[in-house]
């Protein structure tokens, strides 16, 4: 049992080390943003579980805002990653970022409408 635990622990620490060294700066910024979004979403969902779904539309808009932001950020990360350059030859990182901003503008308009 100790060995499997040790195995899991070594895998995780190795993963973390490689992440810190090999990932470019830009992607780490985006990853930090992703973590922030995820935490916000988890806290919102936790509130809903504990206290109840009233008002349901507000909960939905907030939670879905987190989810959608997470998805858009993941898209940005995928498109900006230099290792994926082959798949996104016609989409420059600036273009990806512009798409990201545009999508967010629309997302937040809808969220503000639905939040009541």
């Amino acid at each position: 049992m100790a060995t499997s635990q040790a195995n899991v622990f070594t895998v995780v620490s190795k993963f973390y080390d490689e992440y810190v060294t090999t990932t470019p700066q830009r992607l780490k910024i985006i990853d930090a943003y992703l973590a922030y979004i995820m935490l916000t979403g988890i806290f919102q969902f936790g509130y809903c579980l504990l206290v109840g779904t009233f008002p349901f539309n507000s909960f939905l808009s907030g939670f879905i805002s987190c989810v959608a932001s997470f998805v858009l950020a993941v898209c940005l990360r995928v498109q900006v990653n230099p290792q994926n350059r082959k798949d996104f030859l016609h989409i420059s990182p600036e273009r990806a970022f512009a798409d990201f901003v545009f999508a967010h503008i629309i997302l937040h308009l809808v969220v503000m409408n639905f939040i009541g």
Binding site: A32, A35, L39, G52, P93, M112
Partner: protein
């Protein structure tokens, strides 16, 4: 050719339509009511209702009250320039008697109206007014104008008006064509249910036609080509409308029926029952009135009852009996029905009438039917009450009761017994057993006054038997309430003169106790308890501390993000202070501010409007900015490659 076929059809239908007679009659009560309609038209509001009211009263043979006031009204309301107004006014003044219109000014208008291209209604008003005022009429001129006008106008109203016009011209005027048009007009009438004949469902039109047709026939001394049963059907239609309320409609009814009561060709004979429908030993005579449609006498007649048929089994109880004339009222005739020794039942008596002095005008002389019912008294005999055990272990005790007494002591029954009651109903007239329409046994709880009603059924010998299983019926009928019950026998029928409810006995019933249900059933007919309206309560909110805590918790990750970014060393220093960069960031910020305002105050349309402006600016700035960044990156790449 058409005349030949018409005659053939005429004869055919005459044979078939023999049995048609009017369904009812304009009774004295009806005539009084119509008289009241005419009288209530005063004070008059217009010339037409004055005309109808005055003429109507005259037709009913009633006194016209306040003739001087009426005359003054007519003289003031008439319009000497309008033929229609002159028609109404002149007929009214003629009916009133000593009332004169200014005939010279009338004459000018009327004579001038007969010109080329005049239409039928105007011609009708003009000719009628001239005749009413006693002024001369050029019959040939009128006939020519009428024929010309009828060529383009073939409505039934104009056709009827032509009849009235022709009836007022001199006797030597050539109105043969108009007379023959009666037949064509009748062909356009609609028949309803083989009983009524009318034009377009219009009372006024039908009445106007009937009056015109018989008037012209009298004028020409020729029978109108209206068949007898058609005449009767017209009479039926007019009689069916006798409950009208306005002066014009009342006049139409009275005028049409007066014509059918008094003309030279067709007078429908009406037979209506005057006595009560019930014939019993107390009142054994059936009395009928034989009259014309206005309840007027028809002279000396011989009235016979051809047959009386019982409805239940079609038995014919009399044939060919003469009725006795009532000496005081020459329209009433009597028949002593019980002389026929008919038993109880519903009977249809059919009559036929012949005039002592032969009168070819009378129609509908046979086939009139009148319904009566013969009632009888009933007696109830052989009444037996018994309480028998369900398991038949002991022989039942039978109690005999005699109507109208009651059993000496109360009967007691409980749930393992059956209550059996037998009785026989007898018709006292011929001492035969009979069945009644209603034979019920009613049990009433003496304390709570609740009733249970059961039906007693008769077997083939007319012996009634009523059986009650006390145990089985406890829950369903009695609510398992034990106690003293009054037992009544209720007998009734349309043909029984003495229906009764007879308290036969009092029963002490005992039901099994365990199945007792709640005593008081809620009374359905009392007001229910009031429902207080509850306004929608607001949803339960969590306490403020919980909300605040979670708000802080949700905002916490922002700080974590900022911390992480600082740790990563996010590059703020490289911020190009160019216009596009600043305006791009300001644009994004302003969009977020706009969204906050949207949440707080604005509506979607305004937001979209501002968003379009801000979005365009931000887009342009962002485009420039990102383009410059891309260029810089490309240049860097190229320089690296070199």
């Amino acid at each position: 050719m058409t005349r030949g076929t018409t005659l053939l059809v005429f004869f055919a239908l005459t044979v078939v339509g023999q049995a048609l007679t009017p369904t009812t009659v304009l009774t004295g009560v009806d005539q009084a009511r119509l008289k009241a309609v005419f009288e209530n038209a005063r004070p008059f509001t217009d010339l037409a209702s004055a005309h109808y009211s005055i003429l109507g009263l005259k037709l009913l043979g009633a006194q016209i009250p306040n003739t001087q006031d009426n005359c003054n009204y007519v003289k003031s309301a008439v319009d000497y320039q309008s033929p229609e107004s002159l028609y109404y006014a002149s007929s009214a003044t003629k009916a009133l008697g000593n009332c004169q219109l200014s005939s010279s000014s009338a004459q000018n208008t009327l004579q001038a109206a007969i010109k080329d291209g005049v239409d039928v209604p105007t011609l009708f008003f003009v000719v009628s007014a001239l005749i009413n005022l006693g002024l001369p009429v050029n019959s040939n001129e009128v006939v020519n104008a009428l024929t010309e006008a009828l060529k383009t106008d073939d409505s039934i109203l104009s056709g009827s008006m032509a009849l009235h016009i022709a009836a007022q011209l001199s006797k030597d005027a050539d109105v043969k064509v108009i007379f023959e048009s009666i037949e064509d007009l009748v062909a356009q009438a609609d028949e309803v249910g083989e009983k009524y004949l009318q034009f377009e469902g219009d009372l006024g039109l039908t009445s106007f036609f009937v009056v015109g047709a018989y008037r012209l026939a009298g004028h020409q001394n020729k029978a109108p080509l209206i068949m007898e049963d058609q005449s009767v059907k017209f009479a039926n239609y007019l009689l069916s409308r006798k409950h009208v309320q306005s002066p014009k409609n009342a006049y139409d009814v009275v005028a049409g029926l007066s014509t059918l009561a008094n003309n030279k060709y067709h007078i429908p004979v009406c037979i209506t029952r005057q006595s009560s429908m019930t014939v019993s030993s107390v009142q054994s005579k059936v009395q009928v009135r034989v009259s014309n449609v206005m309840s007027g006498a028809l002279g000396k007649l011989t009235v016979k009852a051809d047959s009386a048929e019982r409805k239940e089994d079609g038995a014919v109880v009399l044939s060919n009996s003469a009725l006795a004339a009532n000496p005081r009222d020459n329209t009433l005739y009597e028949l002593d029905f019980l002389k026929t020794k008919a038993g109880r039942g519903f009977y249809t008596i059919e009559f036929s009438v012949t005039a002592d002095k032969p009168d070819s005008r009378l129609i509908g002389l046979s086939g009139a039917q009148v319904e009566v019912k013969v009632v009888t008294t009933v007696s109830v005999e052989e009444v037996e009450l018994a309480l028998e055990d369900k398991d038949q272990s002991t022989p039942p005790r039978v109690t005999k009761v005699q109507y109208p007494q009651k059993t000496g002591s109360n009967l007691a029954g409980d749930h393992h017994q059956n209550l059996v009651m037998k009785f026989l109903l007898k018709d006292k007239a011929d001492n035969s057993a009979m069945e009644a329409h209603q034979a019920f046994v009613r049990l009433t709880n003496k304390r709570t006054k609740q009733e249970v009603i059961f039906v007693a059924e008769a077997d083939d010998d007319h012996l009634y038997k009523f059986e009650l299983d006390i145990g089985a019926s406890a829950k369903e009928h009695f609510n398992s309430l034990s106690g003293l019950y009054a037992m009544d026998l209720v007998v009734g029928d349309a043909l029984i003169q003495n229906p009764f409810a007879w308290n036969v006995a009092d029963l002490q019933l005992k039901f099994p106790e365990d199945s007792a249900t709640s005593e008081e059933k809620p009374n359905l007919y009392q007001p229910r308890e009031e429902i207080q309206h509850m306004f929608r309560e607001p949803e339960k909110r969590p306490p403020a501390t919980v909300s605040t805590t979670f708000t802080a918790l949700v905002l916490l990750p922002v700080l974590i993000l900022l911390g992480l970014w600082i740790k990563l060393g996010v590059n703020i220093a490289n911020f190009p202070l160019s216009l596009s960069a600043i305006s791009f960031h300001i644009g994004l910020g302003s969009i977020l501010v706009l969204y906050y305002l949207f949440f707080v105050q604005l509506n979607m349309f305004d937001t979209l409007k501002y968003l379009a402006i801000l979005g365009t600016l931000t887009f342009l700035a962002g485009n420039r900015l990102l383009g410059s960044i891309a260029n810089k990156r490309k240049q860097l790449l190229r320089s690296r490659l070199r």
